[in-house]
């Protein structure tokens, strides 16, 4: 018997959360409903990542990551948090894997080039285990996979051009390997701790994955566009644009990618409701989007340049140069028309 209905849970996740962090609100409920001891274990593995997602999770100050780890999640392995190391840690992973019924959290993209040799995560019988093999092996046996962070969800920064190590997202790796395990993409660079805990809690509480959008992100956290919910929106509508940092106004002209970014930071805010990117005067860089960072560069310019042979011109420059050519062409033709008498002719005869 669960103490909380799915409907209440979603309300809790989506509701006004500025006052209380989600983990704080969920904690008592979760501790009662799904005590960690009886929960399916969670394995957290890291590939091509910066550990920022783990740091973000550790940042959930109230009630603190300790309670989350000890009271909700039966976390068997985490590269940064686990005390175990070496053979002992590998043994824990193998035991959890062979026992079955566990959830896998993947942080970081999966390097796939040259057999995945660019990221190894331990040894077995004196041979390196590549992260690619680890993800496929654990992923095929897990009940569900949480791809935490834009890197594991969509490729992110490791998969940005030129991508020398062939980094791919977890779902791409699964598709290619034919693995059918459901993947929840918890995008963000880093994702908010509430997004990670909320998604994980949903899976633990209801044994099913939350409703996802077309790119595999939980709708409850990624269903809204930043630009349409921006506290600076009235500046945009009134055409008041900041042209430099720290100026009053909409940040679009200094590169804000809010119109294409999906998250709920505008409600939820970061660091336990202290502040968030745009409120702090930083343009949104669309870190939760599938195309990040490619779709958001240059971060502080309105529009990406158009690559032409040997140069990269702004779309404005391309348009203006061609526009000038059209005007010049029309002007030259007009002179020709007048010189040959084509223009006058009709008026006289017609």
């Amino acid at each position: 018997m669960k103490g909380i209905s799915r409907r209440d849970f979603m309300k809790l996740c989506a509701g006004s959360v500025a006052a209380v962090s989600l983990s704080q609100a969920l904690m008592p409920e979760l501790a009662r409903a799904v005590p960690a001891a009886g929960n399916p274990p969670v394995l957290w593995i890291q590939g091509a990542s910066c550990t920022g997602c783990s740091i973000s999770l550790l940042n959930s100050a109230q009630p603190g990551v300790k309670e989350i780890l000890t009271e909700i999640i039966s976390l068997k392995f985490h590269p940064n948090v686990s005390a175990a190391a070496g053979d002992l840690a590998m043994k824990v992973i193998e035991e959890t894997e062979s026992a079955g019924k566990f959830y896998l959290v993947v942080e970081g993209a999966v390097p796939t080039k040259d057999g995945g040799i660019y990221c190894t995560v331990g040894e077995r019988d004196g041979k390196e285990i590549t992260f690619l093999d680890r993800v496929k092996e654990l992923g095929s046996k897990a009940d569900a996979v949480l791809a935490v962070g834009t890197c594991s969800a969509f490729g992110g920064i490791p998969a940005a051009k030129p991508n020398p190590t062939g980094c791919k997202s977890v779902s791409e790796v699964f598709n290619e390997a034919g693995i059918k395990t459901p993947v929840i993409n918890i995008a963000g660079c880093p994702p908010h701790p509430d997004w990670i805990i909320g998604s994980l809690a949903h899976v633990l509480l209801f044994n099913e994955i939350p409703e996802l959008d077309q790119t595999g992100r939980p709708k409850v956290f990624y269903g809204k566009v930043v630009h349409e919910n921006c506290p600076r929106r009235q500046y945009f509508d009134a055409s008041k644009f900041a042209r430099n940092f720290s100026e009053e106004g909409c940040l679009l002209e200094i590169g804000c990618k809010g119109p294409l970014a999906h998250c709920d930071s505008f409600d939820r805010q970061w660091n336990n409701g202290t502040n968030w990117c745009i409120k702090a005067g930083a343009p949104c860089i669309a870190c939760t989007e599938k195309g990040f960072p490619g779709c958001a560069v240059p971060f502080y310019e309105r529009m990406e340049g158009v690559p032409l042979p040997n140069i990269t011109a702004s779309a404005d420059a391309v348009g203006a140069v061609l526009g000038a050519a059209v005007v010049a062409g029309i002007g030259a033709h007009l002179i020709g028309n007048l010189a040959t008498g084509r223009l006058g002719k009709k008026d006289k005869e017609g």
């Binding site: 566009v225 158009v306 029309i330 017609g350």
Partner: protein
């Protein structure tokens, strides 16, 4: 109306002006939305965006209406590409570049350049409608954006195609006005002088006198 021929039916004229106004306002509001300080011709983003969205639906209606009319009336035949268009295009270019003073008799309503540009507006508009809707519904159509490489690429396509509209409209206006104001009158009343195009054709051949009301297409 002696000495005049009926060139444009009412429906053609109606859709021409409907789409002309829509595209004109879409271009102006679009450039304002792109660079509100560089092209400050509207009071606010709110006004420009609302106009853009209203005329976005207007131009979609205009496009659908125009295509419907073209196919039920047989008007689409005026735009059918022919093999003859290729040599004719060269002759037309020679004329425009003052290398020749003669225009062939196209044998149909439009010259190959006109056919290409007017028919070309259809795919260009479809590109603008698709990319525009992806930008307009960033959540519902988010995954569509990745068919073409992502929402940032969609924005660039939408913007570059807007410039193509500017060039096409500029060329269209110039060529029609420089050929004679009768072109513009013709698009309003439907009638142009019967010898209007003949004058530009065979310099040596006597102009064909057309009388009475003939529908050309």
């Amino acid at each position: 109306m002696k000495g005049w021929i009926y060139r444009h039916t009412l429906a053609v004229r109606f859709f021409h002006w409907w789409n002309a106004v829509s595209i004109f306002i879409l271009i102006l509001t679009g450039f304002y939305i792109h660079t509100p300080y560089g092209f400050p011709i509207f009071p606010s983003m709110d006004v420009a965006r609302k106009l853009h969205f209203i005329f976005m639906y207007a131009v979609i209606a205009g496009l659908i209406g125009r295509l419907y009319y073209a196919f039920i009336s047989g008007d689409y035949k005026n735009f059918r590409p022919r093999l003859l268009d290729i040599p004719n295009m060269f002759k037309l270019m020679k004329y425009y570049l003052f290398l020749s003073d003669e225009l062939p008799d196209w044998g149909e309503k439009y010259n190959p350049g006109q056919k290409m540009m007017y028919a070309g507006f259809v795919p260009l508009l479809i590109i603008q409608i698709f990319t525009g809707f992806v930008l307009y519904f960033p959540t519902a159509l988010n995954h569509w954006a990745y068919w073409l490489g992502g929402p940032h690429i969609i924005r660039i396509i939408h913007y570059v195609v807007a410039w193509i509209f500017v060039y096409c409209v500029a060329a269209h206006l110039y060529l029609d006005f420089s050929e004679g104001v009768a072109n513009i009158v013709g698009m309003i009343t439907g009638y142009i002088p019967a010898d209007f195009h003949e004058k530009h054709r065979k310099k040596h051949a006597p102009a064909v006198q057309e009388t009475g009301r003939t529908v050309q297409g």
